[in-house]
Subunit: 405 residues, 2 copies
Amino acid sequence: MKIAILGGDGFVGWPTCLHLSNAGHEVHIVDNLSRRWIDTELGVQSLTPMDSIQERCRIWKEVTGKSLRFHLLDLAKEYERLKQWFAEHRPDAVIHFAEQRAAPYSMKTDRHKVYTVDNNVGATHHVLAALVETGIDAHLVHLGTMGVYGYSSVGAPIPEGYLNVEIDTPTGKKGQEILYPTRPGSVYHMTKSLDQILFQFYAQNDGLRITDLHQGIVWGTHTDQTRLHPQLVNRFDYDGDYGTVLNRFLIQAAIGYPLTVHGTGGQTRAFIHIQDSVRCIELALKDAPKRGERVRIFNQMTETHRVRDLAEMVARLSGAKVAYLPNPRKEAEENDLIVKNDQFLALGLNPIRLEEGLLSEVVDVAKKFAHRIDRSRVPAVSAWTKELAAQVDRDPERKALRPAS
Amino acid sequence: MKIAILGGDGFVGWPTCLHLSNAGHEVHIVDNLSRRWIDTELGVQSLTPMDSIQERCRIWKEVTGKSLRFHLLDLAKEYERLKQWFAEHRPDAVIHFAEQRAAPYSMKTDRHKVYTVDNNVGATHHVLAALVETGIDAHLVHLGTMGVYGYSSVGAPIPEGYLNVEIDTPTGKKGQEILYPTRPGSVYHMTKSLDQILFQFYAQNDGLRITDLHQGIVWGTHTDQTRLHPQLVNRFDYDGDYGTVLNRFLIQAAIGYPLTVHGTGGQTRAFIHIQDSVRCIELALKDAPKRGERVRIFNQMTETHRVRDLAEMVARLSGAKVAYLPNPRKEAEENDLIVKNDQFLALGLNPIRLEEGLLSEVVDVAKKFAHRIDRSRVPAVSAWTKELAAQVDRDPERKALRPAS
Ligand SMILES: NC(=O)c1ccc[n+]([C@@H]2O[C@H](COP(=O)([O-])OP(=O)(O)OC[C@H]3O[C@@H](n4cnc5c(N)ncnc54)[C@H](O)[C@@H]3O)[C@@H](O)[C@H]2O)c1
Ligand SMILES: NC(=O)c1ccc[n+]([C@@H]2O[C@H](COP(=O)([O-])OP(=O)(O)OC[C@H]3O[C@@H](n4cnc5c(N)ncnc54)[C@H](O)[C@@H]3O)[C@@H](O)[C@H]2O)c1
């Protein structure tokens, strides 16, 4: 298959490119490298030393003999070039990772809110409009997030995308299938909720074949392919904006800093290992919906944990302490989360569990690259509202933990 | 009150400005005049001769002694200027009409799809982000559409915005209130579905006070204020893109052309007179939600009709014939539509009925300005998909009806 991987230079995109190239597909990376620019804006860098995309592709060719082609293109700003690109390359499948993906970054300032909405809605809508216009019947696989549902649900298991509801009609109750209602908790998550509506429309009006993967937090660094050469290493974000909760715990542990839990740490989140994420994408890719079918939605996660339990797990492995700080996010302090992932299990997924994989992250990644850590960048600084920002600022414990700058 | 009327140069916006200025409010019109540019693009013009916005404001001052201030600003493209504008003027209320509002225009080509999404999502999101950033606690009243729900529902009465559903949980069924699920049938309608998600988020995260008016098709031309002077006249669109079904019937009748019904004409639509629309907006404006309240949603319509019944009504008044053509839209041939509008009735709305008001539209508007009609612009030309476009093109009856060009 000829596969276009939009956002193929990113954290999940890069190992996906290698995995699919390794499996024999013709892989094209389309990326505007905005994520590298954001590193520059924030003055942060991946913990793992990351080469340019051109250099990464060269190494892959050297190691495996397989080609990866890179195309510099802004999906949100260059609609006409995107359309030309599709018309010229006519991919069999398109995997769409190309969005601004950090909730804290999306809440930093109004400029960041506006950027996130423009970039994410722009990229997704342009891909859809260009597929219709060029008449390319490619399977579009998009990465969404579990977080789109919010985390203050009634405690019901989250089904895979759809909900059957009963509606009162003059002739009695009638059943109807609807998109599972969303309640996004950040501007970033909100853009994924907007994406869903775009997908529903284009599947219905134009028969586009779309799979939306509602993914949990991806953890882990290496996959079978990134291990093949040091310069194929995946990125590892640990800063307060892009570092997910687990990565930040690992880094705090590596530098002997307390693990900072927001609020009570009672927030339950869904997780998946990067190797499983890549496998799931391949499984979903093979299992394409037919023209005219509704959007296929999978929950792409393998386990759930409370944040404080994660902190304790990392503390146990590393000897670190746990510190509780006020929460800069607007969210429920404690929530349950039960997620159905029957579809991927049925397709044969056999997950890597946190309990098994975590030690390797501590030793092979966090400790190995500890000398590269910039400790001033670990704390989360974006607050969800001005009131929360002020509250977080006043907290004495947070002040005490903040490194001198 | 100081009121910012975004899109105040448009068909619903202009009479709203006059109505609220007349009621003693300080009215500021913010508009980029894109609707006038689209007239130029399409080579069409309002049936009623429409002056520049500057001239309209001058006449209003002359007739009533009251000021209307006009500000040229693109809400979707000039975020920083919008923010400055809010910071300087600090309005008590904001009424948001400023979106591309024609479904056929939104489906013309991929360029029009992209424009409609960028413009509408951009305008709405920028208004929300700028209100939060400037800390202005204005009541935001937005114009949405009934069409957001699609027209192939299970025949249940459409409630005002929300639906109570029951969700299975491990401890039994639990009730939950959700946004009434949408199923938009065009890119234009889809943008209103996206707007809803933006409103839900900003009301929840930032406590913005928002009212969303899900409006039916607005008919009629004059209000008490537009009648005061010929140069205050409202616009009347009759072209295949912007002319709503009723306006196009009126024009066809005035030029002795058959009334062209798409498909069986079994589509049921909701309607409201422009005078009632303006009154509803004033009622909603006064009844602002409190900070932290969910988005208040009203169905702003007063009656429903099947398209073929409308055609017959106009035929009866004018002696015109009715012709049935293939439908360029992707939609159900026949649908029922039951809409709740209890909230506006409770606030005292006493509607103008189509049966009563239609004759005046035939005589005072369509016949009066019949000499200005460009008959080549009446047929609808935008098709929802390429297949439908080809089908519509092949139809012999449609060909016969098409004026020689
Ligand atoms: N990492 C996670 O834990 C996680 C969890 C759930 C969902 N996801 C989703 O998976 C996808 C990939 O996540 P990631 O962690 O790899 O993110 P990432 O930021 O590392 O990668 C995204 C890539 O897309 C590119 N990009 C962004 N906007 C673009 C545009 N307009 N044009 C072209 N390229 C553009 C960036 O340069 C970057 O290389 C995202 O959509 C994200 O929302 C990620
Ligand atoms: N007319 C109807 O029958 C009807 C029915 C349901 C809902 N609505 C909604 O009511 C609102 C007003 O409808 P209308 O019929 O008056 O439309 P209109 O096109 O006549 O007016 C919209 C106005 O907004 C302005 N505008 C558009 N984009 C802008 C931007 N980016 N920046 C600044 N100004 C911008 C246009 O120049 C125009 O003056 C729309 O949101 C529409 O969706 C209308």
